[in-house]
Amino acid sequence: MAIIEEPLALPAGEPGPAVKPLGVFTRPRETTGLTTWLTTVDHKRIGIMYGAAAMFFLVIGGVAALLIRIQLATPNNTFLSGDAYNRIFTMHGTVMVFLVVMPIGAAFANYMMPIQVGARDVAFPRINAFSFWVFFLGGLMLNTSWFLGGGANGGWFNYAPNNGIAFSPSTGIDYWSIGLLIVGFGSLTGAINLITTVINLRAPGMSLMKMPVFVWMTLVTQFLLLFAIPVLTVAQLLLIFDRIFDANFFNVAQGADPLLWQHLFWVFGHPEVYLMILPAFGIVSEVIPTFARKPIFGYPFMVFSGVAIGFMGWGVWAHHMFVAGIGPLSVTAFSVATMFIAVPTGVKILNWMATLWGGRLILNTAMLFAIGLVTQFTIGGLSGVSHAIAPSDTQQTDTYYIVAHFHYVLFGGALFGFMSGLYFWWPKVFGHKLDEKIGKWNFWLMVVGFNVTFGPMHILGLQGMPRRMQTYDTVMGFNFWNMIATIGSFVLAVGTVLVLWNALVSYRRWKAAGSPNVGPDPWDGRTLEWSVQSPTPEHNFDESPAVTSLDDFWHRKYVEDENGQVRRVATGDELAQPGNPEGVHLPAPSYWPFVLAAALPIIGYGLIYNLWLIIPGALLVMTALYGWALEPADDLDLPDDHGHGGDDDDHDDGGPPGGAAEELETVQ
């Protein structure tokens, strides 16, 4: 709560004075329209915005991918110049990792996790809004480099000294480092927010080992983010200082060691890849039990393997540097460590298979994608284990074999998991299901297209095709599989776009049918989100659910009878909370998160083009910080469902994040 807010001891219902702290930017009062999205602090809307933004960036990254495949379809192709190709593959990787996979994970975490733990919102709703806007505006800024600097061109991991001003004089890499720095603030603040939510805001009775697996994976992911982002931040700052202020961190002439960049980047980069996959693991751990009609096999092992991956992920970063000259002792240590990290991942795969075993499987689209993750990720995991064998990696690294590996785990793994989650949770978010027929086409085209695109890349890599090559030569023998991969990529593109088509068509059909509500529990689900109406009411729960076991909702529907048989005793519809918002007050919307987020790219552009621009940017930051701090969490002037007079506002709405002025609030 804002620090100078006076808790007005008014009886309920009486309006208090309007609060206009700086004479501008009173609390927004609209209840519909664009402003509501701009100023919302509702975790559900923020989750939807994360998802929509990620889809937008997915299209950008996907078009870049198709351009790459067109260029590589034939040898000595001149479709793209070397410079254009370098920018396109760099932006493809950067956009996909930072602006697609991570935000989709954030979308699901933001929307579903609070509901799954039985909370009304996250711990710091305004910071949550800030996290989204800073990601989105930072991502937009990064993508303006296409027009302004030609796009970053150093590869998504941007090694020194090639990333320095001597070898990459265009501003593309400045956009990369500054844009991602800004996006990183969103991840960091989001991590603080979501961890606090999981630890502090669970429903009564929900101990840690009664949380859904998805919540556990979200928790581990957020811890990984919390500790990994600062390391990337340091790397990016060192690069920015080198490029803009002539520092010498990567200046070999002055004695610097280029490997410093690699170490810093990969200490971030390896936890990064685990935090990209863990949310998808979590999603699949919800989908498979639901549609196998039995609980997840080995809940404790699933939880502990996730935590183990989180811990062990910190100890393997230099497996990206096996040939960088780190010395055989280091290579040995990291090779062995990398092999063992396969163990917890393997446990998960086997536990999912064991959940399928003996189940009564409903093979709808969500389930197909979930089983797809299990199989496709395994392929990526197996190639990963072969990389862990360091001598072999001296042949494999930097080839298309690696490209195949990470696409199998990121696309076949993370993205398939996200598709599963989309189909699974769409009715909860929007009140209707996605069409199953289109969904099947979606799945099969994606699976076929994906494997036709990336399967041959294993072969190409082992036949010696290095990565990041804008072209190749007939004499090398790469022609055939490259053409196949290109064909596959277009099939994959069509398949992927089908989900957007599905969203559109399903919505239209639903509207045409008079918007019949799908009900709170269309899948006969297990976790708490199915105990509220669809779409989720703004306040989530009428009353805080009291939890007594894992899969509590399921166990209220299905009970063991006197014969030891498990029988259904209630339906989801009967048990679901009716969605009555009476007596609930919610955190009020606010402009400040957006304003603060918008101020950061201004500083960013200032760093690139004209340092004087930093001053208005910094002033706007200070203004936004103080405006935020001085703004009460509730404007008592607003209509009822946004603030009841009287109650001391205890939404624990944290103050602004960031290094300068920390939260200035406290809790009652």
Binding site: I3, L188, N200, L226, D242, F249, A256, L264, E662, E663
Partner: protein, 230 residues
Amino acid sequence: MTDVAVPAEVVAGHDAHDDGHHTSLGLSNTKLAMWLFLGSECLLFGALISTYLLSTANFIGEVVAGNPTVLATIPEALAEEFAAEGSVSPIFDIPFTSASSFILLMSSLTMVLAHKAISEGNYKNLRIFLATTAALGASFIAGQVYEFTVFFREGITYDGNLFGSAFFTLTGFHGVHVTGGILMLISLLIVSFRGKLQQDRAETVEIVGLYWHFVDIVWVLIFTIVYLIP
């Protein structure tokens, strides 16, 4: 098991997300958030300190080996001292920096006293100690600035060589964090003067105090690693 007993206070319609009532760690949301943030800051400073150590080691290696490009960035006398010592210690004024470190340490004490004051409802002392903490922090920053100007005069610049870049970046980041803390303290002071920082908000001061102590501890680390250990 179809009947689930719902705790009374839940039925009363309290938001489930408010509370300090049933947190697992006994920390309020804001305090937990501050601890998490400080956890991430550990990694930030860890990476900066590692960078400093590597960069300075490389720098000294080049100086000792007589690399002309590197030697050209510092005055000859200084280069000789560095080479003789095998470290950058000759440039540091340990007594001065010790005094300034002591000042920062004392500011942590006054911070604790400020929190104690507000917990007891003693608003006069709260203001005194907040102001003192801010003033001590500002003295520390002044000391840093002075030290930097001495370095510039002695020929160590930010963009000159690896040591300059690394040293100023590390200590600069710390200084920015201290400055941010000072701004927070002043804000608290102003709020207190307006009468809005009451005893029931003691936790706010505690949380700012957590940040301040962290910044102090980081300085102890930096002082030890950079200044004291050759």
